[in-house]
Subunit: 479 residues, 2 copies
């Protein structure tokens, strides 16, 4: 309950974000540098994200499990790109039960290695394949420049790991999971994303191909919001994950991994939020609606609270996540602002006049002022609310998509390109060379976000070196 | 798919347990000594446990959140009993991002300290209370003598933490959570438990009072299956968790904590299992029913598989967790044994004759042979199955309770007592002295499990020292 006003996004987007996360009580800084605490409001949002994804994972045959927090240091060293990528970021346990350890333990930065080790033991024949695993946990990658949800030493995520008999199945799985992330972002979070392929420079340490979904934040920067890696046979060769095929011959498996983390909460905040605070997408919001009772005296209070209770019961029965703000000693106006800041998609106002008329006021978070207000009958309120929540979802998605389109420039001209990445995305032909990519990064701070999968092949000139290029890529400054 | 037979429980209970956990693919040993991998079958069981508890926690106003994995070492040292209890068991990170840390980080053994630290910052007034938090995670307590689920260095659990304005509320919360664990054990896991108070020696490090639920395993030993601690003001004083009361005076909070871990899976295995393998309680079993299709030729196969599919659809729609065993090249008999070993409560056999008659065979896991078999019409099968699953639940509970009663001796005679704790529980008057408790432990290996809350006060003589005693306690050898 802050007295001070939030900075506007135009004034200071970064500070707007930082203060909003704290004020809305989504998360807080831990007493250990680099770590965060996800507070109940933020964790409930994460639980709703988990449910949306977990349902999709299970519907496609995946099962959850739990591998240990600790990994022998020697495991990380078995795959050469993996060790290069992760060595500088490790947290290492050297003391256990009061004694120095002979082999130090690494706190997992990701679990490909230990899962690979166990698969080598469990997998015998092609009949055991595919293995479609997932786990929900936290991982640690050393990091001191904390930005809540976006950059923390410990973060929460799911890591999927699968093993297959053929290269084709491995690639199909990698793409399927990218599709699932895309579907989740669009249909649950109302976030338009661009699914695409990463460059070699931006690939996961140990992958053959990395795919990602990229979203545009409210300041025009990109946020990688989920990744899916085709690991080829890199890990199966490093860990000897083999199976007997139907001819009795020993073959290496093809493996994949894919993950989506609490970074995604950062995307939700930065895609939808406005200068008043959060705007949470209805299908993920901890509370989809908040009832604010309005009264001046005890008589009115009795009347209004009884109506509020009936409304809450009706909506809860219909599966709407609803809360009644019963706090004493606070004005309705204060409560309106407070829930606006916290991003609840729909406010339900109930005063004595509403009770008399059998109506309520519904106020949409995404449309401030009169435009977003409607007087609605209490008969069939659950239906009206469900319909309105769907409308809000669509409106949020449309707005974010329009914003991204307005801030994306398709260009082959480097001067125009440089201007484009100052305020959004450039969609430009790129020759594919790491050298051009690196130069662009040095000169503009923009990185190659992805080569969108959904593009019509076209001949053009690389925006940097002007050599022939057959694909367009998204370049942007990124979180 | 083991060739070898399981040892019987009578032959070697411990080895029966170890082999069963591996064969049923509930868990496996990790390449780090002391750690375990919970495999998909075991994790699905844990997910069902999580759902059963989480629903009860949320219905009583608790919210989930996530505090960091790492705790500054100095935090553990702030509460004097806490540091004594946990210091020898800590895993310590001394290297991060390639550098030696100035303050080593402890991997959380439990989170009272870091939560206390944050509450001191967040709690201002009595209006902020109570805080009713829970988190699902894993914790680490150094341990090398691994026994899957029962004794591992890393284990999975939930840890509840609450802060209150008064001592009465703190005690009420502690008891409420004990009741919730009891209700869950009885109604979801079909495990009869004894809720009671722990002795000072067995108390949580830093608690005023510890309560637990105790269950009798199939070998007569006790397993502590959940604990609830009234922490009084010990942690609020150590971490300065204070609030302004309604008179504007600064007061220390009263806090509690409570937890139930993957040990509970050990209880499920050891309470219900028999010489054929697991028997999973229907409300928690990953699969409540398995359909085994029986056929000899392609014509029969088409017929039977189509019936199996229809049955599966019917049961799934009714909310039954059901799997069809479609594995090729395995006899029905092999499949029967395999699913028996894995503890699926109900087997549904479908052969060509069944299809012709419009019936199936239902075979109960808890009643082997003819006694547990029934021929049932496919019309209304979902209703028959749901009813039967409830009957199995009740039968498992009744059997476990009868076993516990048969192996519990109420006695004030020490000779009889010593015989009782060789095969089960002794329920005996105890004077309350730590000295008698310690002597009993030395002489019999039995520990004071709990002072059951549900007992009629009675005057008696301490089973060890014969001094006056007003309460009876449960003594047993324990896991």
């Amino acid at each position: 309950m802050a007295e001070q006003k939030l900075p506007t996004r135009a004034e200071d987007f970064s500070e707007w974000y930082n203060q909003l996360v704290l004020r809305a009580e989504l998360a807080d800084y831990a007493p250990i540098k680099g770590c965060m605490i996800v507070r109940p409001y933020g964790w409930t949002l994460w639980e709703n994200i988990q449910q949306g994804l977990d349902r999709r994972f299970k519907a496609t045959g995946h099962v959850n499990c739990a591998f240990p927090l600790f990994i022998p240091k020697s495991f990380i060293e078995k795959e050469k790109h993996h060790v290069e990528g992760f060595s500088p970021e490790l947290a290492v346990v050297t003391i256990g039960g009061g004694e120095e350890l002979t082999e130090p333990l690494v706190v997992r930065p990701t679990s490909e290695t230990i899962i690979g080790h166990m698969w080598a033991k469990w997998i015998q024949s092609y009949r055991d394949l595919p293995l479609l695993y997932n786990q929900w946990n936290s991982v640690v990658r050393w990091e001191m420049r904390t930005k809540l949800f976006l950059r923390t030493m410990e973060f929460f995520w799911q890591e999927g790991h699968t093993a297959h008999a053929t290269a084709e199945e491995g690639e199909a799985e990698t793409r399927q999971m990218l599709d699932i992330y895309t579907d989740f972002a669009v249909n649950d979070a109302a976030i338009p994303v661009i699914p695409g392929r990463k460059s070699e420079a931006e690939r996961f340490a140990g992958a053959e191909t990395t795919y990602s979904i990229e979203a545009m934040m409210g300041d025009g920067k990109a946020l990688q919001s989920g990744t899916s890696h085709n690991l080829g046979q890199n890990f199966s060769k490093a860990f000897e994950i083999r199976y007997l095929d139907d001819k009795g011959e020993l073959q290496f498996c093809w493996t994949t991994s894919w993950g989506l983390s609490t970074r995604f909460i950062g995307a939700i905040i930065m895609v939808h939020g406005d200068d008043q605070g959060l705007i949470l997408p209805p299908r993920l919001a901890p509370y989809q609606a908040v009832i604010v009772p309005i009264w001046k005296n005890d008589e009115e209070k009795t009347l209004v609270m009884s109506a509020a209770k009936e409304i809450r019961t009706q909506l809860t029965a219909a599966g709407v996540r609803v809360k009644t703000d019963e706090r004493e000693g606070m004005s309705p106006g204060f409560k309106f602002n407070d829930w606006e800041m916290r991003g609840v998609p729909l406010r339900i106002e109930v005063g004595p006049k509403d009770v008399a008329k059998g109506t309520v006021v519904l106020a949409r978070r995404d449309k401030p002022g009169r435009e977003g207000k409607a007087f609605v009958s209490r008969d069939g309120l659950a239906t009206s609310v469900a319909k309105l929540l769907d409308e809000i979802h669509t409106a949020l998605y449309d707005r974010a998509l329009a914003f991204r389109k307005a801030n994306t420039v398709e260009t082959e001209d480097y001067t125009e390109f440089k201007k484009a990445v100052e305020k959004g995305f450039a969609f430009s032909h790129w020759c594919g060379s790491a050298d051009c990519e690196e130069k662009i990064k040095e000169e503009t701070k923009a990185t190659m976000r992805c080569i969108p999968l959904d593009q019509t092949p076209s001949e053009g000139k690389c925006v940097y070196c002007a050599k022939a290029a057959r694909e367009r890529a998204i370049f942007a400054k990124a979180y």
